[in-house]
Symmetry: C2
């Protein structure tokens, strides 16, 4: 039988990026391709201890259905935590728990996008978010990013010429570029957003992963009525638990809940109970020290190796102050071809083209993850890579 799929399915790029991830399991492979936490800082021992605490404290509630908005103790723990770290002023019922940040991005897409509606993303941007948006079939426009963040001249040109449903941005340690939006750029973006009544999706999974300097104000704190703020517990707790959260203007939050009743019903309650104890019991704070210390060392090492070994080349190396990725651009070779050479020598990365939405993607950039590769392999892998980079 011939199956009659929806129209957007013909645009689904099933094989390309999956082929890349398939080779990563190969023994001996040094993979800079992923975006996963280092297993050394996954809180297995803490969870082993928290299991009996939550079972004792909450009984069968942790196994039962619950409300879509989230498990109340986690909403309490998150609101306290976000008020302290982000300077928010939230009550527990203004924070919502999602099945990973992706679930929140998806629910927002479905709440706003009719087929062909226009949205704007950064160029480059997080490839999984592109995938999420495409399921709702919008026209995706893009605006370039530089070391200071999103290009506001390009953005205003698009806003003048188009009706835009929302802008999707990752202001801190952007995936894949590692760039962070400057305070000045944030303030100007907010002014533009007010002038053009632009709704902003602020995706902020790396807020905690700052290794130098101080955090900048979130877009949400500058313009709460027009920003949907999305956070993740994947980098600071455990990605396998699929927990994220979001904050949105009341009128939007209520409708996200309604959409999610048809999508995920609610996030895993057992995991939410664990996360609530992890945050309110002070484990997160201790764990964040370990995480930051480990990742800072790896970032420093990767940058010093890259700066040293690529010093006489034209290649541009991003200099992130946090996050999980370093971005190489202005590479003369086609990075898909480069990838094929690299994996023969057991080194993997993600070619830049997957992070662009436009028709002629940038084939002269690539993304390197530094959080999930140990020091020895960073030295070895960058050495191999630098030799095949012209």
């Amino acid at each position: 039988m011939k199956y009659k799929f929806a129209n957007h399915v013909s645009n689904m790029n099933i094989s390309a990026i999956r082929e890349i991830f398939k080779v990563l399991g190969k023994p001996g492979m040094i993979s800079f391709a992923g975006g996963a936490p280092a297993p050394e800082v996954l809180p297995l021992d803490i969870i082993n201890k928290l299991n009996s605490i939550i079972i004792e404290k909450y009984g069968t509630t942790v196994l039962q259905y619950n409300v879509t908005e989230g498990f109340v103790p986690l909403r309490q723990a998150l609101s306290n935590y976000l008020n302290t770290t982000r300077g928010f002023d939230l009550s527990a019922n203004e924070v919502f728990v999602s099945t990973g940040a992706q679930n929140a991005i998806d629910a927002v897409s479905r709440l706003f996008i009719d087929v062909g509606d226009k949205i704007i993303v950064e160029s480059p941007t997080f490839l999984a978010s592109i995938k999420t948006f495409r399921v709702s079939s919008p026209a995706i426009l893009s605006v370039s990013v530089d070391e200071e963040g999103i290009n506001l001249i390009e953005l205003e040109t698009l806003l003048k010429q188009n009706k835009i449903k929302f802008l999707y941005t990752i202001p801190n340690f952007q995936n894949p570029s590692g760039y962070t939006m400057s305070l000045d750029r944030r303030q100007q973006l907010v002014e533009l957003a007010k002038r053009y009544e632009l709704l902003i999706i602020e995706d902020d999974p790396y807020y905690e992963l700052r290794y130098y300097g101080s955090n900048l104000p979130t877009l949400r704190s500058l313009l709460p009525d027009q920003v949907i703020y999305i956070g993740s517990l994947s980098k600071i707790f455990a990605p396998g638990m699929r927990l994220g959260y979001y904050i949105a203007p009341d009128q939007i939050a209520e409708k996200i809940t309604s959409v999610r009743q048809g999508i995920d019903v609610h996030a895993n309650i057992y995991a939410q109970a664990l996360a609530s104890e992890y945050i309110s019991g002070g484990y997160l704070e201790t764990q964040l020290q370990l995480i930051r210390n480990l990742y800072r060392v790896r970032l420093e090492l990767m940058l010093s190796e890259l700066n040293q070994k690529l010093s006489n080349k034209e290649i541009k190396i991003s200099q992130p102050l946090g996050g999980m990725f370093v971005w190489l651009s202005n590479i003369s070779q086609d990075t898909v071809e480069l990838y094929n050479q690299a994996i023969k020598q057991n080194v993997a990365f993600v070619p830049g083209k997957y992070f662009f939405v436009n028709e002629s993607p940038n084939n002269h950039s690539l993304r390197l993850n530094f959080t999930n590769v140990n020091e020895e392999n960073i030295i070895k892998g960058i050495d191999i890579l630098s030799k095949i980079l012209k």
Copy 2:
């Protein structure tokens, strides 16, 4: 600022059903409204034991990202289990784990439905599935069900006149009616499906909850190329864990995976590890005895109370052989008004209208859950209900 939501949002019925569920928390309320397992048969002690087993066995893998298709040990456990119980002949890589059955229903909707595409559901049908479908904006047609299952004459009329993307059916102990599709009806449905190239979504969350007689062949076993089979661990493990599974023709399964990479990435890995031990370690089998014994007693009690107390009324009482619900129809009163009377006396149920998709829904039916109400309250609640039923 005025937010510009997608078109389908104006059709979202946010308040109605939520208002009903809000009153359920009221102290002293006897609620026949839910669809949750009894807390007595949620495997809290077993999970308390399995926690250390999976941490020992799998280490940080249970906290890390994994593939969308599912955690391999759970896919193995499920394929063995389904082969034994359903007579399937599956390898582990033909079973896929979803974030609850709802996530699978949603992914299938998004894979097949373009705005305005026609799908067919049973009338009445599961209200949360209606909600899921509506997010993808199909035209939803419906076909009545009786004690033998879906009405095939109505179905064929629709198939003759319309292009249909899929039929959604719950053949066993249907939610809300409790009806089970007969073998004869299953075989005829399969013949129709072949003739009209109809894709079938077989939602089978209650397969294990049979209290009398033997299970009938699944539609999937009769027509594997045209059936997407969706199962749930919510009734036999724990709904708070948000785990379901699906089996589909290869070409479809591959595309569901791709859609899910933009929706949920993958189901909670920690929960999948627990479920794999729960099934392969033989705990499920023991637990199912407890579950069936408890629910059978409650079903028998509810039916005998209803049959006795409503004996001289015209009301039709469904006589399910399994599942979680009894359906009352042919009620002379409007059941929304009846609901308002009932909650004043601390008894709740779901008025029938929420289970219909057509414009003039049936207001003369209601759904009663029997799994999550203890014996004393079943007697008390049915007594109160029978007095306000004319």
